[in-house]
Each structure stands twice: as C-alpha cells, then as structure tokens.
C-alpha cells in the first residue's frame, strides 16, 4: 500500500519534471515538429555550458548565436523565401548520456541539424543519435578521429582532425627549422595519456618519421594528477633532443612551460600540437615571458580574414571577452547547416544532409579553401596553422599565406 502510494507520488513527480523539460523547448515546438511549418528553421546547438568545460561551451553557444543572427540579418534562407533561422540550445553538462537525451530532445523539437559538442565522448553519442534519426550533425570542435571510421552518413566535421593537425605540425616543423638553418633531427614528445594526447603523439610520430625526423623520447603523463614536470623535462634535456613537442591540456601545458624555464634544456623550439595552451591569450598572460616564442600547430580562427576580425570584434564588444577559436568553429558549423538548407530548399533533415554534402561555405577559420565535406564527412579543406607567441601576442606565422609575421625559430632562454 505504502509502497504503491509512494511510487505513485514519485512517478507523478518525475512526469512533472519530464513535462517541465518538454516545456523548456520554446513554445510552438510541437507545431513545426516535422520541420515543415512556416516558423523559423531550427538548428540545434549542443554544448557543455555547465560543468568544468562551461567556459568554452558558452563561448561556442554564443558563436553559434552570432551566426544565426548574421544569417537572419542577411535575409534568412533565400531558397525558402527568406525564412528565419533560430538556434535551439541544449546543455550537455559534459556528459555523454545527457548529450544523448538532449540531442533527442532537439531533434524531436524539429531541428533540421545539430552542431556540437566540444567533447569527443559526447560527440560519439550524438553522432549515433543523428545517424539513427537521419538528422545531420556538424561537429565544430571534436578531436576524435574515431567517429569518422564508422561510415556514418550524417556526421560532418569542420575542424581538422587530430591526425591532420599532427601531420601539419610535422610538416611545418620540418620546413620552418630547415629555413632557419637548424633542421630538427631529434624531437622529444611529451603528451597527456588519454585519447587526445596519445592520438596526437601517434600521428605526429608517424608523420615526423616519414620526414626523416627521429622521435624520442616519448613521455606520457596523467594530466589529472601531474603537478610538476621537472623530471620529464630533465629526461628531455638528457636525451639531447632539438625540439620538444607538447600535446596537452591547458594546466599541464602551463606547468610544462614552467619546468622548461627551470631546467632550461638545450632546445631549438617548444612546439605545441593540438595544444590547449600555447595559442591562448590566457597562456601569454599566465606564463608571461617564459612562454615567449612557443610554437603551436592547431586549428585556428583566420586572423587574416576581415570577416573574422569583424566577428571577433563584435563578440568582444557584446560579451566582454575575446572570442576563441571554438566559438568561430561553431559559427562556421551553423553556416554549414544553413548552407545545406539553402542548397536543399527544404527543411527535411535528410534533404538538408545532402545539401550540406554539396555545399561550399566560406569559413572564418583557417582553411585551404571553402568548407567542403568529403565522403567521410570530414572538411576536405580544413587546415592547421602554425602560431607563435611573439612580443606577448599569439601570431599566425606559417604557412606564409596565412602568416601575420615570420616565425622566429629560437628559444627565449
């Protein structure tokens, strides 16, 4: 008796909660659930706006919002008679299972496509949801290359994959060091030991090997516990390597820079690959002089593109913070979906998918041309750029056509 009553009460409670969730979708969601009504075209954005990734998540959500505003200002979707676009947002909390249910919610709310999600584990889940529902999913930031090995039809990615960045890093390193007259021969690699760092280091090792560089020592570390890298840097110093490649997150990369400053190994360069710190303005201010002349190969907003400059200025003005590359990628991802709708002339997600596959989008991030998706869903023209901290600023230095200034192949100590 008691039990049943209790369960009934709780059941009612959870139904209420569930109803509440449904209610959180903007009103009218049910009306155009099929995506065929006259209302705005809905694009779903999944980002971690709570939890430890919230800062980046929020940046990306805002970047997507700016893209939607830009589209509407320039007349909406022309092929649908100027229909407006609206962003439907969701918080993944950085958890795959939340990401999955939120993706489901956005899709049943009538989203024609999804963007997201900043984390590989969440993107892995959302890509499956997208595939099953036959709704396109354009990834803005997602490092994992694994997702694109399943032959999913509905998954796309704007940013260059981890392997591509690593290959570019090896290539740029070879060329830049050669040009400076100090060709890199022996490269030490220090990487965090999860998926992200290991993947980057593996790809780099292969690419560098092909270019005739010797990789070693390779040292991995646990980013969640490492508090001091003096020993690792001493090991690098003892090995006689010319260059130190670092694939890590922000905090650990900062500690590595401090240890390099302490040990002062005999290096020609410190080189970030997909690094979370060495191309961040925050690193410049946190590390100060000891970060000077650090290189970083990564995806990046295109600092040479006036459109990008305009967008970043607007972001800075509206939100009081510099716009990060992730947010610019979200902007591009929304543009990709909008272009897909434009191309398809329909809000049917399957048609939009084909539209995206056909579309060409001028990106605000660095690329070798317009965003164009290959068979596997990867952006064929995605590219990584080399940045260096010069005089307290992060500058694009290579390849030459993207360079703001010349690379300075030397170290500060």
């Amino acid at each position: 008796m008691i039990v049943r009553r209790l369960i009934a009460v709780l059941g009612a409670g959870s139904l209420l909660a569930a109803a509440g969730c449904g209610g959180s979708a903007p009103s009218g969601a049910a009306g155009d659930a099929a995506g065929s009504g006259d209302g705005p075209v809905r694009i779903g954005a999944l980002h971690p706006v709570s939890g430890s990734m919230a800062v980046d998540g929020l940046q990306m959500r805002r970047g997507a919002q700016l893209a939607v505003e830009q589209i509407n200002e320039s007349g909406g979707i022309a092929s649908l008679g100027g229909r407006e676009v609206r962003l439907a947002t969701a918080d993944t909390q950085g958890k795959p299972e939340i990401g999955q249910s939120e993706a489901q919610r956005l899709i049943s709310g009538g989203a024609v496509g999804l963007i997201g999600t900043y984390q590989s584990s969440v993107s892995s889940n959302v890509s499956v949801v997208a595939e099953r529902n036959e709704v396109p999913f354009v990834m803005d930031v997602t490092a994992s290359d694994e997702i694109f090995q399943h032959g999913y039809r509905y998954s796309f990615r704007v940013q260059p994959g981890s392997a591509k960045i690593s290959e570019s890093a090896a290539e740029y390193l070879e060329q830049v060091s050669e040009k400076a007259g100090k060709p890199a021969e022996r490269v030490a690699v220090l990487h965090e030991q999860t998926d992200f760092g290991t993947g980057a280091a593996d790809a780099f090792e292969v690419a560098a090997g092909k270019l005739g560089m010797e990789v070693g020592p390779r040292i991995s570390y646990d980013a969640t516990t490492a508090a001091d890298f003096t020993s690792q840097i001493t090991q690098v110093k003892a090995s006689g390597a010319d260059v130190l490649v670092v694939a890590g997150y922000y905090g650990d990369s900062l500690l590595i820079a401090k240890a390099v400053d302490a040990v002062k190994p005999d290096l020609d360069a410190v080189w970030g690959v997909s690094n979370g710190a060495y191309d961040q303005p925050k690193f410049v201010s946190d590390a100060g002089e000891l970060g000077d002349r650090y290189f970083s190969t990564n995806y990046h907003f295109d600092a040479q593109n006036p459109e990008t400059r305009r967008l970043r200025a607007e972001y800075q003005q509206r939100f009081g913070a510099p716009m990060r590359t992730g947010a610019v990628l979200s902007y591009d991802a929304v543009q990709a979906i909008a272009a897909g709708v434009e191309e398809a002339g329909s809000t049917d997600p399957a048609a939009v998918r084909d539209g995206i596959a056909r579309a060409r989008i001028a990106p605000l991030t660095v690329g070798n041309g317009p965003v164009r998706f290959g068979r596997d869903g990867e952006n064929v023209n995605s590219a990584a750029v080399l940045m260096q901290i010069q005089n307290g600023r992060v500058k694009q230095v290579y390849p030459p056509e993207k360079a703001e200034s010349d690379p300075d192949y030397s170290v500060a100590w």
Binding site: S52, M53, T224, T225, T230, S231, A238, A262, V263
Partner: protein, 331 residues
C-alpha cells in the same frame, strides 16, 4: 603510607617500540634505496633519476602538507573527510582572491586562509558532523562527500571553471647537485616541514595538543577528567581545516586553481594518511615523501601508465598488510 605494588610489566617494552619503529624505517629506507637503484638501471641516466628523486620528495612534501590536516581529523574524530580536497580548493580560491584584490605576496595570504578555514572547519563540524545524525562512519563519509560536491560545484557556480594562476614574485631556480629545483617548490617543502614540526610540537607540548591526543586515545576517559570532548572535536576539525588553509597558501603558486583541484589531492592524501598511520602528523609527512617518490618512480618503471597506479598499488598493499600504517601500532 606509600602503596608499593610490584609489577610484572616488561620494562623493555618502551625501548623495543622505538626499536621497532627504527627497524621499520630501516626496511622502508632499504626498499626505497632498492627502488631507486632499479630505476637507475631502468632509465640509464643518473641525472634523470636524481631529478626524479628530488622532484618526488618536493612534491611529496606538498602531499604531506595536505595530508596533515586530514590525518588529524581521521585520527582524532575517526571521520573520513572526503571534503578535505574541496576545503583546499576553497582556501586556494580565497588565496587567489586576496592576491588579486590586494596584491599581497601569496604566502602572506596565509594570514587570511588559515583563520578563514579554521572558521569553516568550526561551522562544518558544528553544523554537519557533530550530533546524532553524523554518528556512523558511513554517514560521516556521505556527509563529507556531499559537502565536497557542494563546495566544488559552489565554486564552479560562482567562479567558473577557468583555471586561475598566481605567480610567485621573484621566482628563482636552484641547482641541487645537478637537479633543478624551483624556489616556490622548495619554500612549499620547507613550509610543509615547518608546519609538520609546529603541529607535532603543538600536539606534544601544549595543553590543547595533549588534550587532543587524550581525546583520540580515549574519548570517554577525556570526559571523565573534565575535557569537553565535543569542543575538542570541533577544534581538531577546525585545525585540520586550517592546515588545508596553510597548505593552500603555500601551494597556490605551484598549481592552476580550479574548483575541482581538490580531487587530485584527496585520494593521494588518503593514501598518505593510511601509509603514515592515522593521526600521526609526522607519519603524514614521511608518507607524503614516500608517495611523492612512488609517483615519480612509477613513471620511470611503467612508461605510459599514470603515476597514480603506483600510488594505488602501494595503497592496497598497505591496507592489506599494515592497515595501521608504517608507523602506527596495531590495535
């Protein structure tokens, strides 16, 4: 009249206890020496191993520092304080905030963090842990677990997840027989030793310290000599929290300050506490050094493995074989 009662107490027992501790210290020392020798063979580079040992000891000092407050709470109140790491994070944020607001030298923020954490400790103990609801071990564990989630996410809610950094003004590097030591780490290490000695002195030679040990040794007995046990418990918890405050000020130049930074230290600190024997402040310091070494040597032994793995292996071995810790006495 004098009552003389002849006794059969073996008088050799006290010295033999000291001897046993020395013997165990010898065994541990020998194990460490062997471990270092193996590392030398494995790595092939003297300087790398030496740097690892130095780094391990310095990091270990930090672990000892953080574990001191925890061991006090564990030993006297029998509370597995899962919120200790979160308290450390709170103290770090206070320290960071003070540096930001006033430009004070990071170490001087101790003047704020220590009293602040002391107060937090009083509030937490009085508000959450003492009294009937907190009675059983599991309940206290769950309450402190809840508290750590609360504090971490509270910090997240109000300060965001962006890591914050505090530099040490006038940071220098020293050369110790070829190994490089950052001044900030050396100061933190010295601070850990000083704090450990201060705590030890306080426990051994002050009335309050003796009372704390008395309560730990026999709570009902302490009540029978007129000690207000609940007050001593609160004070002990507050002192333990204040230790986290001191640790925070010493460690703030070394780490990126994030709401969840306590997590990485929490479990290490528990290992240190168990290793050193619960309630044993000097044991915590020694245990900290050992764990620091274990971490560094793990990375030499097992390339590609997390340094935590070695820590957990040592932990499990200690739990099974010497649950009273290296320097504790089996009860």
């Amino acid at each position: 009249m004098t009552a003389t009662i002849d006794t059969d107490a073996p008088e050799t027992r006290a010295p033999s206890a000291t001897l046993a501790v020395l013997k165990r210290a010898g065994v541990v020392g020998a194990l460490v020496a062997v471990a270092i020798a193996v590392a030398l063979v494995q790595s092939g580079s003297g300087i790398v191993v030496w740097q690892s040992v130095v780094t391990g000891l310095l990091t270990g000092g930090l672990y000892g520092l953080i574990a001191m407050g925890l061991t006090l709470i564990f030993g006297v109140l029998d509370i597995v304080n899962f919120a200790h790491g979160a308290l450390l994070a709170v103290a770090m944020f206070i320290s960071f905030g003070v540096v930001q607001a006033t430009g004070l030298h990071p170490y001087l923020t101790m003047l704020v963090t220590v009293p602040a954490l002391f107060l937090v400790g009083v509030l937490v103990h009085r508000g959450l842990l003492s009294g009937s609801g907190g009675a059983t071990l599991e309940n206290q564990l769950l309450i402190t677990l809840g508290l750590s989630l609360l504090l971490e996410n509270g910090l997240l809610l109000f300060f965001g997840a962006e890591p914050k950094n505090v530099g040490l003004p006038g940071e220098t590097h020293l050369d110790v027989f070829g190994a490089v030591v950052a001044g900030s780490r050396l100061y933190a290490f010295a601070g850990a030793v000083a704090l450990g000695l201060a705590l030890y002195w306080m426990l051994q030679h002050t009335g309050l310290g003796t009372a704390i040990r008395a309560v730990a040794s026999n709570g009902p007995g302490a009540e029978l000599v007129g000690i207000n046990v609940r007050r001593i418990h609160t004070l002990t918890f507050a002192i333990g929290a204040a230790c986290a405050g001191a640790a925070a000020a010493l460690a703030v130049p070394l780490l990126s300050v994030t709401p969840t930074l306590g997590e990485q230290f929490n479990i290490t600190a528990f290992v240190v506490v168990v290793l050193g024997g619960m309630g044993n402040v000097v044991g915590a310091l020694v245990g900290g050094l050992l764990i620091g070494l274990v971490e560094q040597l793990t990375t030499i032994y097992l390339d590609g493995q997390s340094s935590l793995l070695g820590v957990f292996v040592v932990f499990v071995l200690v739990l099974f074989l010497r649950p009273q810790g290296l320097f504790g006495r089996r009860t």
